[in-house]
């Protein structure tokens, strides 16, 4: 029981092996690695991303053009020849009825559309939500009220209905202000509306987080050194928000992929000949008697991707926030 003042006698709670500290992100990563389901889901996602990026290469290497018509694969009625929608060596997942286009090739290209919309939509939504949420949380008063009210108003609208209703006119308007016509404008529209209706959730989450973080004493500490708002936002708050942001983004991404598919299914997504999983599903619906395989393949693929993202997001959330207890599947 010595009088201790400058001693380093306090027992180190962590084994003294490495002097390099384990940052919370590394800890989360380690926890994530232990979650087998999440890791598998992560690889599935990677697989789809890989396919999407290299779709042109892959389809040309394996000769699975998504656009080439194959009359030989169809009978006189325009239906695929052979079982299960015409599955064959030439067409590993069969062909599209009516045209004989290769389904695997179209799926690969469809992955590009789905993931592109998913990723861009998520990034834009998250970005907008993050900024507005931070502003709202940090600046109480008028700006906060305005943002909160706009959020209330946004939530009061039936989003899907408006997205559907505004599709044509707004796409046209986009085209008239110089956005390249056709699918580019359509994708721009989808991302735009997803953002308009999606930012609220992110902003609310971030606002809440900021409100609680700003009460934390380390923010006060920074202010007591004369830290500027910029410092507080970028050095103190943001590092604490990233985890939440990433988790939220991961969990909302599959939502956007599914929304794109639903919109395309309702006929307001992308247009032919571009392949999107949603348009494929929308088309395949007509063939559920004649060619059920055609319906199942894009449907199940979509489901697998969405599920992989969800499971990965769950895993990430658990890794980032160990308190949120989710049993492994």
């Amino acid at each position: 029981m010595t009088v201790s003042n400058t001693s380093d006698s306090e027992a180190m709670p962590v084994a003294d092996t490495a002097i390099v500290g384990l940052s919370p992100s590394r800890l989360a990563l380690a926890r994530f690695r232990r979650d087998k389901v999440a890791v598998i889901a992560f690889f599935v996602v990677c697989f789809f991303v890989f396919i999407a990026i290299f779709a042109p290469v892959l389809t040309s290497v394996f000769n699975l053009s998504p656009y080439a018509l194959d009359r030989q694969a169809l009978n006189d009625y325009g239906n695929p020849i052979g079982y299960f929608g015409g599955i064959s060596w030439n067409h590993p997942l069969g062909v599209e009825p009516g045209t004989g286009r290769d389904i695997l090739g179209r799926l690969m290209y469809g992955a590009r559309v789905s993931l592109l919309i998913g990723f861009i939509g998520t990034i834009v939504t998250t970005g907008v939500g993050l900024v507005l949420g931070m502003v709202s949380g940090l600046r109480r008063g008028l700006l906060d009220s305005v943002i909160t009210r706009v959020a209330d108003l946004t939530l009061a609208f039936p989003s899907l209905l408006l997205i559907i209703a505004l599709n044509r006119p707004l796409t046209q308007r986009l085209e008239s202000i110089g956005v390249p016509k056709g699918n580019f404008a359509r994708m721009t529209y989808i991302i735009l509306v997803l953002t308009v209706f999606g930012w609220v959730y992110m902003a609310r989450l971030i606002r809440g987080q900021v409100l609680s973080l700003r009460e934390r004493e380390f923010v006060e500490a920074a202010r007591s050194f004369g830290a500027s708002n910029t410092h507080i936002v970028f050095k103190e708050l943001l590092p604490n928000l990233w985890a939440q942001v990433i988790v939220f983004a991961t969990l909302s991404l599959p939502g956007y992929v599914a929304v794109e598919a639903s919109l395309s299914f309702l006929g307001i997504g992308l247009m032919a000949p571009a392949a999107s999983w949603g348009t494929m599903l929308g088309d395949s619906v007509r063939y559920y008697r004649a060619d059920p395989t055609y319906l199942l393949i894009p449907g199940v693929t979509l489901m697998i991707l969405v599920m992989a993202f969800n499971l990965m997001g769950d895993g990430l959330r658990d890794a980032v926030d160990p308190k949120s207890d989710r049993q492994q599947l």
């Binding site: 009061a156 609208f157 707004l170 599903l281 449907g299 489901m303 599920m307």
Partner: protein, 328 residues
């Protein structure tokens, strides 16, 4: 409490006004011409021009909005020599369907309500039931099953579930007849049969997130000190779970459910499309395909009204159910 309610209702009213103005402006500012819809295949531009004036679409948006609001409270006449009158509350007249929009909505609303109500009951049963089971049997197989269900359910797009359901239950096995909506008053049995698939489709998709919400909510409350005190008092586990845990855990869930239900009342767009139910969602989709602006404005507005009312209702209900909110 009365002040709380009054304040909440006032806010709802303001929001409603904002929503209606916003809806009207959004649609009115669009580059689509409602007057063009009054015209057929070999239509002449003069006809469109005349009708634009007659319908008031040539006037400034503010004036149009004023007329629209006036129509809601006082009714309004439309068409050739004002030949058509829609009594209050008039939400407009559809020249495509030759009917007062209010009539169209009152006709489709019961369908949507039937869909929404059944689906709501089912999904709350499934969601809250499975979620509770998962929480109580945490870590064991019922938990895994429920969690698995929720992940799969969340990952399935509604329309895909619906299509699969038709494929499996109607076409392949023939267990159910082809869905065709029948009013509950005209034939309750048929009504029920026609709605089974839509109910389950919506329920499965929506229940998934409720499984999670319930499970996490219950686990969280089970860690609360007051639950331990209840146990320490000697309360039965069952009593404890119902009176202490469920009450606290379900309160936030019920509020979310209220909002979801309201959103559904505005039209289960995809489900109604897949199952061809002549509800609000289907009406909206039809209006979109027909570019029928008056209907779109009205359905959007009605849906928004449901959402706003549900919000206010839920807040007020929360005030009644949670004594902590009641005072402030």
């Amino acid at each position: 409490m009365l002040i709380f309610i009054a304040r909440r209702l006032l806010f709802a009213l303001a929001l409603l006004f904002a929503v209606s103005a916003f809806t009207y402006v959004i649609f009115a500012a669009l580059p689509s011409d409602p007057a063009a819809l009054t015209c057929g295949k070999n239509c002449r531009p003069e006809v469109i021009a005349t009708n634009r004036v007659r319908l008031g679409y040539d006037k400034p948006i503010v004036v149009q909005y004023g007329q629209f609001l006036n129509g809601i409270f006082k009714g309004r006449s439309y068409g050739v020599s004002e030949g058509v009158h829609c009594p209050a509350p008039s939400l407009g007249y559809s020249f495509r369907k030759h009917q007062c929009v209010t009539d169209l909505i009152t006709r489709s609303l019961p369908v949507t309500a039937s869909v929404a109500l059944g689906a709501f009951v089912l999904w709350m049963l499934i969601g809250v039931g499975l979620g509770t089971m998962a929480a109580l049997k945490r870590g064991r197989w019922p938990d895994r099953l429920a969690t698995g269900f929720s992940v799969v359910g969340i990952s399935l797009p509604t329309f895909f579930v619906g299509l699969l359901a038709i494929m499996v239950f109607v076409i392949w096995t023939g267990l159910l007849p082809f869905p065709r909506y029948e009013g509950i008053t005209s034939n309750p049995a048929k009504w029920f049969m026609s709605l089974i698939l839509p109910w389950f489709t919506l329920a499965i998709v929506s229940a998934s997130s409720y499984v999670r919400l319930t499970r996490n909510g219950i686990l969280e409350v089970m860690n609360e000190e007051f639950v331990r005190l209840g146990l320490a008092k000697g309360l039965r586990r069952r009593t404890l779970i119902i009176k202490y845990v469920m009450r606290a855990a379900l309160l936030p869930i019920v509020t979310i459910a209220g909002l979801d239900f309201a959103a559904l009342l505005g039209g289960a767009v995809i489900t109604e499309s897949v199952f061809n139910l002549p509800g609000m969602g289907k009406l909206s989709i039809m209006a979109v395909n027909d570019s029928d602006l008056p209907i779109l404005v009205a359905t959007t507005l009605v849906a928004a009204v449901f959402i706003v009312i549900a919000n206010a209702f839920v807040d007020i209900l929360y005030g009644f159910l949670d004594p902590r909110v009641r005072l402030n």
